[in-house]
Each structure stands twice: as structure tokens, then as C-alpha cells.
């Protein structure tokens, strides 16, 4: 019988297997950042252990850092201590670090693909749940806890039980004006926030093949939001073209060798998944979450659901969510007014995201009562946007143009949504308090966020007028 992509990567990395014990799995790339690593290094020191393969470990600073002027000193002393600890740990253990002043600094899941260290068929881990992003390259990539970070540092392996496999076959074409963010949000909306718990998901089908690499990353990024251990997409010509010429990717004869290797990573025709579902992309509409988990989502032309229309087990959570969100059942999504906009995060802060958002912004202005931030995912993305003049479009419109980092995705730095403020956010989580205490988060695509910034409320980007007719839309 054939094998799935997951099984092939797994088999390629098993160092040791034994009865009902977890397997020892080799890890090709270990990404670390300041928040989930300090206790792991402390553990190494306590036990007199070394980092086994520092050159297969890459560190950056992204979660708790300011996104304002980097020449100024940190205002948050505790965050400073954490960042300093990472620098010291990397120095002591010989780990490459892209610090605040590095031209390669950025959100860990943005920088690895753009450096070319995320490659097909690899195993990649990081003390961060959105490590699933790297699955877009056909790499088995997943988040781990700090004890496991320590385990990988010390052994370059992990103890793992095999996951079940889930195929999500997505056919049809995404309609004009919708994005891969809308695709993944509607999927989670349909199947639920914990649908894929225990599974590694492989996204398959025409709609997935038609996505760009960056769009695929957005899809895989949010795999964890349906509980999946990891999300995978089979590598193809787009994957190889994306990688070619990247800083860490080999050239010449070694490139050919790599290519031959990467081409082995696909799911055989006669392979079996533990579970398969079908999804039609042609019905996807621009999505806006109304609740406090990513599965609580509706189309832009819809309304906040009436409680009586929900399945019985969803009524209580929805009630609680609506109370937190300050929304009423039945309220049309387009009547929800916002006062914050965040374009950023490892879901949607890459150059294509910024280009698409800038296209919507055009030369409109951010609504008076709205504070809007654009936070590029990495310094390279920022530089690229500035070379294309995209930053100017945002700045002219009244957006703040920031330095790279996680920023308002989780508000560990000063970029917070204040209590009861309402934010249109391109990030991945709308949990209670995620963007700040009592902050109200609505997850959307970059285009929808840009349009919301201008209109001051949610609008259907499919009807967003071209420049000539801009009077029509803004209140």
C-alpha cells in the first residue's frame, strides 16, 4: 500500500522505534525565540548539557520586542531581560541569532521560509504553535513545549507518537475577492475549532495547488486553529521556484541533488488517510470572526448568528463569546464598527499580503476614529515593501508603519488593543484577552482589514470601488 506525505517524512526521520514507546524522531531545524526558550537553556545548564547541533538551530527575537524605533532603549525592562537572556544563551551555546538589529530579524515563521531554511521533507520544530506554517513547503513542522525545546537542544531529536492523518480535499476555485485566509477561516467555521485534534492534516486539491507559496503558508499557519498537530501541502514546482536562489538554499550540483530529494515527498495515489473530507472553495466568501475562537466566523454578507440557529452544544459558548465581544445575535457583520486595525502576524504579514492590502488602501484615508498599524513580518519584507513604495501608500493613508515583530497579534509588547476596543486583525487568534485585556478581535484577511480601516466598519471587499468612484464607499 502507498504512503502519505506524512508517513514518508516520518519514516525518513525515525532514529529509533520500540514497541509502545514513542519513536525518536530526528529534527532538521529547530527555531527558537525569546519567550519559550529561557527555561530550556536553564535546564541544559543545570544538567551540564550542550546543544548537540547549534548549526541546526536558529534564533530570532519577535514576540516581546517593540516595533517602534529600535535605536531607542527598551521601555519594558522584563522584556529586555528576556531578549538579553536569548542573546546570552545563543552566545554561550553557539547558536546563530538574528537579533533586533539584524537585517534578517522577523517573526520566526516568516524568516525561515524567506531565508530558505524551510525546505520540503524536513522536520521542523519551534516552541510556538504556529510552526505549522512551514508545512506549506511539505515539511513536517509543529509546535512544542519548553521541555521539548530542551530535549531538541540536547539531542536534536524528539520523542513522538505518530499522529493520525486527515486529508482535506479542496476543489473548485476561490472566487474573486476572497483569499486563502477566507478559505482557512471558512474551513474552521464549517468543521470546528477542534476538528483536527490528533491529526496531521494534508491540504490537497485544485484550490490548494492554485495558491501561491505565501497563500499556502497562511492556510498551514492556521492548521493549529482547528487543533491539527501539523498541516502539510505537497511540494511542487511553485515550491521549488520559491526556494531557488534563497540565501540558505544550495546551488549548482547540490541544488539538483536537493531537488531530486524533495521530489520524493508526495502522497502515493493508493495511500490511505485515517479520515478524508471534501471542501468546495468556490463558495468561499470574505470571512469575519464574531466570537472568541476562530471557528466562530461568518461571511461578510451574513450576520452574527441567532442562538436558536446554532447546534445545541454551541449555544453556551456563543452566548459567552457574544457577551465578551459586545455583540448581539442577528447583527449584520457590516454594521460592526471597529476602532483598531492590525495588519501583521505570521498569518498575514508577508509581501503579498502587504501588496494586497495596499491595493485596497489606494489613496483612501484611514477613518478618523481608527488607529491602524501595519507591521511587516520581517525586516526583509519591510525592506521589500519600502523598495516598492508600498509603505508610502499606508503612511499617506494614516497607517502606522512599524518594525518587524509579532506586535498586536498577542500584545506582549506595547502594541495593545485596549479594553473594549474593537480590532480588525489579520492575525490567527481571537481568544479572550489575546490582543489585550477585554480586547475584541475580529479575524479577517489583509484586504478586509484595509477596507475596514478606511470605512471604520466591516465592508465587503468584493464591492470595493476602484479609485475613480471612491465617494461611493466611505461614509
Amino acid at each position: 500500500m502507498g504512503k502519505t506525505l506524512y508517513e514518508k517524512i516520518w519514516n525518513k526521520h525515525v532514529v529509533h522505534e520500540e514497541g509502545d514507546q514513542p519513536s525518536i524522531l530526528y529534527i532538521d531545524l529547530h527555531l527558537i525565540h525569546e519567550v519559550t526558550s529561557p527555561q530550556a537553556f536553564e535546564g541544559l545548564r543545570m544538567n551540564n548539557r550542550k546543544v548537540k547541533r547549534p548549526e541546526l538551530t536558529v534564533a530570532t527575537m519577535d514576540h516581546s520586542i517593540p516595533t517602534t524605533d529600535r535605536t531607542l532603549p527598551f521601555r519594558d525592562e522584563v522584556a529586555k531581560k528576556q531578549v538579553d537572556a536569548l542573546a546570552q544563551n545563543c552566545k554561550d551555546f553557539g547558536i546563530p541569532l538574528f537579533d533586533l538589529h539584524s537585517p534578517n530579524q522577523g517573526i520566526v515563521h516568516v524568516i525561515a521560509p524567506e531565508l530558505g531554511i524551510t525546505q520540503p521533507g524536513m522536520t521542523i520544530v519551534c516552541g510556538d504553535s504556529h510552526t505549522s506554517t512551514h508545512g506549506a513547503f511539505g515539511a513536517l513542522a509543529f509546535g512544542i513545549g519548553t521541555s521539548e525545546v530542551e530535549h531538541v537542544l540536547a539531542t536534536q531529536t524528539l520523542k513522538q507518537f505518530k499522529a493520525k492523518t486527515l486529508a482535506i480535499n479542496i476543489n473548485g476555485a476561490l472566487p474573486r475577492g476572497t483569499t486563502s485566509k477566507d478559505l482557512i477561516l471558512s474551513l474552521i467555521g464549517k468543521y470546528g475549532h477542534d476538528f483536527a485534534t490528533g491529526y496531521v492534516v494534508e491540504y490537497r486539491g485544485e484550490a490548494i495547488r492554485n495558491l501561491s507559496m505565501e497563500e499556502r503558508m497562511t492556510v498551514c499557519n492556521m492548521s493549529i486553529e482547528m487543533g491539527a498537530r501539523a498541516g502539510l501541502i505537497q511540494p511542487d514546482e511553485k515550491t521549488f521556484a520559491y526556494l531557488k536562489g534563497k540565501q540558505a538554499v544550495p546551488q549548482g550540483k547540490e541544488w539538483e541533488e536537493a531537488l531530486t530529494e524533495w521530489k520524493q515527498f508526495y502522497t502515493d495515489k493508493d495511500a490511505n488517510f485515517d479520515l478524508s473530507v471534501e471542501f468546495d472553495a468556490s463558495h468561499v466568501t470574505p470571512q469575519v470572526t464574531w466570537g472568541t475562537n476562530p471557528g466562530q466566523v461568518a461571511g461578510i454578507t451574513e450576520a452574527v448568528p441567532l442562538l436558536e440557529n446554532l447546534p445545541s452544544d454551541q449555544v453556551k459558548p456563543a452566548k459567552k463569546a457574544l457577551q465578551y465581544m459586545g455583540l448581539e445575535p442577528g447583527m449584520p457583520i457590516t454594521e460592526i464598527e471597529i476602532n483598531k486595525v492590525f495588519i501583521g502576524s505570521c498569518t498575514n504579514s508577508r509581501i503579498e499580503d502587504l501588496r494586497k492590502a495596499a491595493k485596497i488602501v489606494n489613496d483612501y484615508k484611514v477613518a478618523d476614529h481608527v488607529e491602524a498599524l501595519v507591521v511587516p513580518g520581517s525586516q526583509l519584507v519591510k525592506k521589500q515593501a519600502e523598495a516598492e513604495g508600498i509603505h508610502q501608500i499606508f503612511i499617506n493613508a494614516g497607517f502606522q508603519w512599524r518594525e518587524a515583530g509579532c506586535s498586536m497579534c498577542l500584545g506582549m509588547n506595547e502594541d495593545l488593543v485596549l479594553p473594549e476596543e474593537r480590532c480588525a486583525s489579520t492575525s490567527n487568534r481571537n481568544f479572550e484577552g489575546r490582543q489585550g485585556r477585554n480586547a475584541r478581535t475580529h479575524l479577517v484577511s489583509p484586504e478586509m482589514a484595509a477596507a475596514a480601516a478606511i470605512a471604520g466598519r466591516f465592508v465587503d471587499v468584493r464591492e470595493w470601488p476602484a479609485r475613480e468612484s471612491k465617494e461611493v464607499i466611505v461614509k
Binding site: V15, Q21, Q39, E42, G127, D313, L410
Partner: protein, 203 residues
């Protein structure tokens, strides 16, 4: 890490589904570089308002304040991979969480920190939630060795746990130490395993 033997304790009902790790330990407390000091901030936004205890939150009420067993709804521990969540739970004194399902990373993290996540069917959870609401101070006995949970009125349920994980809790295994015993295997694997990226960074 405390080793795990049979014990009996009060059950605190947290009647919420999809309790995420952001709620278990909010991000403002993730800047500590130590492994300890998180217990006091467990469920911070639910427990406190303007620095004062919220009287309606279950862990702020007697007899639940020191309850070692927590009851919750499905998908407990979803979201961020932060191990700070089980650190906070363990430090607070909760040793067992009973729910119909758990998020993967959180589930895995629990065993490394002396916390036992018990998966029981929805109907058992219904029963237990009802018990706790009718009998504040309701207690359960947990026997990990036998994989069994029971009260003194005749309720008994068995639960599944992988033998490896059970051992982690019973014996407090040093996972890294045991993997390092396979060091030779790892080294020989490495010697033929090809990695195609090369990062040039100067220090």
C-alpha cells in the same frame, strides 16, 4: 516534579469549552525567564479584576480554592504551545484535569509537569458537572496505576493513557537522559542523513 500516586481530592467545575492557554496564563506573565512563579497568575483575567478577586470565578470560591482536580469541557488547553500553562496549573496545585478532549500540545506538556489530563466521555462529564453542582465539595479518587477514577457513592470510570506517559507521571522520567542513551544511534543516523540548507551567519 511530584510523583503520582493514588489520591483523593475536591473537584472544581470550570464549565467552559475551548479553554485556551492564553486564558490559563495570559501573555503579560510570559516574560519571566524562570520556570516558577506562574501559579499565582493562573487564569488571571478570570480570577482578578483591577487586582481584586472576582467572587464568581470557581477557584475564588470555597471549597474550590485548593481543589486539586479540575473539571472542564472539550478542547481544553487549545491555542498557544506555552508550557507556562501546565507550569501555572501545577504550581497552583491542580494535579488532574478531567475533560472530554484536550488540545495536543497541552496534553503532551502536562505529562512533563506532573499534571494528569484525563479524557472521559461527554456523558461522564455531564454526570460529574451535575454532581459538583449538587454537592459542593464533591470528591473523586484518582488511581493512575489502575487508570481509574471513582467517588464513594459508586461512580467509577476507567480512562486511557499511553503506558509511556503513565510512566512519566508515576516515575518522573528524565526524558532527555533516556534519549541520550541512544546517542550512538542518533550519531550514526546523522552521519548519513542529508540536510540541504546552510546558513552563513557571523557571530
Amino acid at each position: 516534579m511530584k510523583s503520582f500516586t493514588r489520591f483523593t481530592g475536591i473537584v472544581a467545575p470550570l464549565d467552559a469549552a475551548n479553554v485556551d492557554t492564553d486564558a490559563i496564563i495570559p501573555k503579560q506573565f510570559l516574560k519571566r525567564i524562570e520556570r516558577t512563579g506562574f501559579g499565582e497568575f493562573l487564569f488571571y483575567e478570570w480570577r482578578y479584576e483591577d487586582g481584586k478577586e472576582k467572587t464568581d470565578f470557581v477557584l475564588n470560591k470555597e471549597p474550590y480554592r485548593h481543589a486539586p482536580i479540575l473539571l472542564a469541557r472539550k478542547n481544553f488547553g487549545c491555542g498557544s504551545s506555552r508550557e507556562h500553562a501546565p507550569w501555572a496549573i501545577a504550581e497552583y496545585g491542580i494535579r488532574v484535569i478531567i475533560a472530554p478532549s484536550f488540545a495536543d500540545i497541552f496534553y503532551n506538556n502536562c505529562f512533563k509537569n506532573g499534571v494528569l489530563p484525563v479524557i472521559l466521555p461527554e456523558k461522564d462529564l455531564e454526570f460529574l458537572f451535575e454532581k459538583t453542582s449538587k454537592m459542593p465539595g464533591y470528591q473523586l479518587a484518582i488511581d493512575l496505576e489502575k487508570q481509574r477514577i471513582e467517588d464513594t457513592w459508586g461512580y467509577m470510570a476507567e480512562f486511557e493513557v499511553a503506558p509511556y506517559r503513565k510512566n512519566q507521571l508515576l516515575k518522573g522520567l528524565d526524558e532527555i537522559g533516556s534519549t541520550l542513551q541512544a546517542a550512538e544511534k542518533i550519531n550514526s543516523f546523522e552521519s548519513t542523513h542529508k540536510i540541504f540548507y546552510k546558513l552563513e551567519v557571523s557571530f
